[in-house]
Amino acid sequence: MVPGPILEVHPPNGPPSGEPSTGQQKSQKAMTKAERRELQERQRAAKAAKSAASGVNGKPAGKSKDQAASAGGTPKQKPSRAAEPQAKSVAPAGARAAEKAKAGQASVATDSMAKNQARGLLIFSHFGLPKPVSAAKGDIHPAIARLALQFSAFKITGANARCIATLTAFKTVIQDYVTPPNHTLSRHLMTYLSPQISHLVAARPMSVTMGNAIRQLKLDISGTDFDLPEQDAKDALCRKIDTYIRERIIIADQVIQETAGNKIKDGDVILTYARSSVVEKVLLEAHASGRNFSVIVVDSRPMLEGKRLVAVLSEAGIQCTYLLLPALGSVMSEVSTVLVGAHSIHTNGAVYSRAGTALVAMMAKRHSVPVVVCCETYKFSETIQLDSFTKNELAPVGDLFSSFPNNKPRESLTLENKPNLEILNPLYDLTPPTCITAVVTEVGVIPPNSISSIPVALGRLL
């Protein structure tokens, strides 16, 4: 079979070009390899000499540090930094020196700027900033490239949806895969899939569901029989992926629908937050089985996913109330149960879910309303997170989800970073186990403290 077409993506910024800071510039390409090596040797020698000199007389180093510490005006830094490499290299500086100068002054400029914002940025530097989908190293299958674009544009959201989309894309990749000669499928397929996975992770940080599914896939791949012909092995793998999706997601959801549906009684007021695919199924199933209840959907920026849930539920005929998160305190006293979904759940029972779930759970606990989390077992994560900073994701700045109301003039809103002002949109947060009453999984309703024993009790790794 013909290998899939190759997709090569170039980074948006072209090859680096040095600023004419020193005046003399020779493009690096113009110099031959020998010239470049010679220049490098000269600079290295000059640097060694300089460091020996500065050990005796620390003035030049101190002087440049002084200039760096003073108010970070870039033009001020330029002559000092430009003077250094000129002092270093005897011969006229080439592009390499210009590059170094630019890097030097850029780093000094960012140093002084960073000093202003160092305080604020440092504490939030754990957050993963959104990276643009760019340089693809190696051959990326078009199905994966398409998926990555869909992820980065937030067209596919939700832990279950992303996992199913990833596994389906991998099925295509596996079917298109051809084992190169002198390699075995079980060893080589994984190395073939690794760059594809990195490409997806570059688009959006991997969800726990994707991680668990890929781990299971790796296990299956390494366990394929050597003697099987290639097509049979690939078919077997695809069947295993199908089984995984069916057993651990689709059927698990059906069991959860029934179990959680039994918790809903006539006349109940159910509160849910944002849009969980599992909770949506539970509510639709409960309504279809004839129970009479109403739903309050709480929603919040940045994603405003609750609107779609309200559309689906009201279409089915369920009485809905819609409100934004700050209005929560006013309605919580009328709620009988809070039903939320999860992105993943940790071994200590803490729930990692859409940002805002923690607030909902906390308010419910204050009003003694039970909080029920609907979560399949494949979402269990073996790590423990202590706060929402350890692992989180920031949505891109700006109005990506069109979540601002139309009757608000755009000038009164701040949609981009300004000096001294930075916009952060974390997408997830961590609900402590004390705020959760019960977790509904396909193996039953369990209290949050017992999450760690479930995989052991089921006799599997995760």
Binding site: R119, P302, C320, Y322, P326, A355, G356, L359, P405, N420
Partner: protein, 371 residues
Amino acid sequence: MTPELHTIPGHRAVETLVAKLRRRQVVGSREAALETALVLRQVVSKARFTNIQQLITVIREVGRRLAEAQPKEHSVGNTVRRVLHNVREEYNSATKGSSAASRNVYSISKFVLQGQPRKHTASAAKSETKVTLKENDPDDPDSFARALKPLLMEAIQDVLDELETVYDNVSKNAKDHIHSDEIILTVGHSKTVEAFLKSAGHYRNYTVIVAETAPSYQGHEMARSLSSAGISTFLVPDSSIFAIMSRVNKVILGAHAILANGGLFGISGALLAATAARAHSTPVVVCAGQFKLTPLWNLYHEYGALDFADPSSVLGFEEGPLVERVDVVNPYYDYVSPDLVDVFITNDGDHPPSSVYRLIKETYDDDDHEL
């Protein structure tokens, strides 16, 4: 024997203000309080009365009209009560010369503070001249009013001065409350909190995280204003308040009204911040002027002030078929209970929520709780 409004001299100004309040053209509790004080000053200066009871009745009638025009704007009623309290005090000190209000105010504070210098003595000391006031003089009906009016105008001017200097007095000790490298969380756009933070920003380097406060999105203006004053600011959506609370050192909120039990009405979103702060044992500080003290309780429901805003900010008509099938709730204020607040910073000093009842006793008279 309540006088008709059109018989009260100066009623035109009152009617103008009533119309403005009803149409919500007066924006902000401090603005409402200032306008109320100015109108009352006009009414008192033009009033004709032969004994103090007539004046009190006139002021109460005017106050009732103003408060009814916009019942959600509590600072209007508070200013009226304040003026009444000051008027009575001036009268008492002018006629009897006693330092404290000699009306039968039975409060624990009176027993506890008996003999200690009270702040009201300052106003009594002003009226050095002991005027002989003759009430209900048949020969010269205006003598009483003439003699008393200068003192009353002073009293109302006190109220106006206090309102004008609210921001400065609240921010006086800002640098003692905020330390370097602290991370402060605030919600909505309160001018008092803004002044407080900017004043501290002159002395300290710290970071402010502003929550957007949907659906009014007042947080955006606050963030812009603070960042242009040189304070490093982060703007986050309300959903991440719990997530970042573990890093926040203090929560500073503004108030729309401070209730008699020490609770407060704040912009919706204040309850989320206060509850999350309590869950993380983070101190909650409320900055408000004393004109926001209201002798009111929130007993029967969780809604704050029963003031609802436009639902199209939550679910607009562009959603089409949803609009007729879905109920939308958009309360403008939140009720924050007193156990969630640690300190009220007012222009008159710092107070814990447990002593708000005493402040109300000192600032207003019992008869005026119901105008």
